[in-house]
Symmetry: C2
Amino acid sequence: MIRQNIRVAVDAVVFGYKDRRLNVLLIKRDIEPFKDSWALPGGLVLNDESLENAVERELKEETNVTVDYLEQLYSFGSPERDPRNRVVSVTYFCLVKPEHHNIKADTDANDVAWFAINELPKLAFDHTIILDMAKKRLRNKLIYEPIGFDLLADKFLFSDLEKLYMTILDKQIDRRNFRKKILSFEILEELKEKVSNGRGRPANLFKFNQEQYFKLKKEGFLFDIK
Amino acid sequence: MIRQNIRVAVDAVVFGYKDRRLNVLLIKRDIEPFKDSWALPGGLVLNDESLENAVERELKEETNVTVDYLEQLYSFGSPERDPRNRVVSVTYFCLVKPEHHNIKADTDANDVAWFAINELPKLAFDHTIILDMAKKRLRNKLIYEPIGFDLLADKFLFSDLEKLYMTILDKQIDRRNFRKKILSFEILEELKEKVSNGRGRPANLFKFNQEQYFKLKKEGFLFDIK
DNA sequence: ACAAAAGTGTTCGGGTTACACCCATGG
DNA sequence: CCATGGGTGTAACCCGAACACTTTTGT
């Protein structure tokens, strides 16, 4: 029997939300293959680190980003996906709050940037497929779990949340019904602070109460925004 | 930099439904570690086969089973999960119809058997965790996708479907509401054949119309049984 | 005629949807 | 005082949940 010759990598799809747009974090490759192409951050797993640690390490090294939410997405392993060697890549789905958006190119990459999801360059390897799957996961999770809060600042306006949902789900949402629904969950704290953003009536700031959410979830509560 | 020394395996959680019980397919290991323990079927991926092919090959070799539904479940890669070498295992979620339940021990395994889900032996490695995740996936998918039909014979009684849902979701279901709901989807064909199973009024056979389901799905239809 | 499983309709209530006007601020 | 975005309530409708009796067969 021939010795198995497969390498294990991790790749991350990192979403950020800024200026009412959904963005993805990409790096520009500085080595072949696909030199100078944009690609998802990632790399080979070290012998003694967990898969999650590998993603976090690669993200730190390549982009200097620390994520606020991370979960496994899918594993890609078709024999031809990397022209050099066979590589099985375990991919991760990540969300980053705006306060952690600061990026910095480093090891293995000569450039790092946020790209609006609908203005993407051609990606290396099968990364477009991975990204598509991540977009689906995002839309799905947004409806059934309170992950939208991991894309917003700790304190946010209700209108931010509403716009985030409209942007990512790509549909109109009734302001009154949306607010009623979310508030009925009782997982938001309404802060005393108000923010006036230029024109218009100043708005209240809100904060996501994660402990309260976990407590409710344990009691059988289901987050659900159609 | 040290050469990466990680192996890639696949493991399968295969569910079957028989005698109103949910069963899992297990093999008895005939080599160390965990010799004589029961385990999920699986094994190392060959250099030039896809992950899906690897699962199907291992299942064929170890159990002689061909599955009716297969999807990736999750990848497990903690450094200590296999005492010999580091192994990252890509696991799969499989369903088998009763007509394909015939099993046969073969390579790498000295025994193969179906176990009722609530009468499981201790499992090797981290396979209990994998199985738990698969159970959750099954319950979840049963509600949002018509996968129950991949656990039943091609022609089945409505009461079979109903009992399958009650068994797997572990709750009572109102017969009238359930039938109304499923029939309203218009993805079942009512056959002319009736079956009398011992006592009671003979029942109609039904067949799942997959083409119709795909067509409706494309048009935006969502299968959903609470 | 009796036991066992199959088949069938209606009512009620809660939740989702649709919808429009006033409020607070800055310029 | 006007433009801009924030904040709020009610009525109609639909869907899910609850619920019991009749039918068909085998013994």
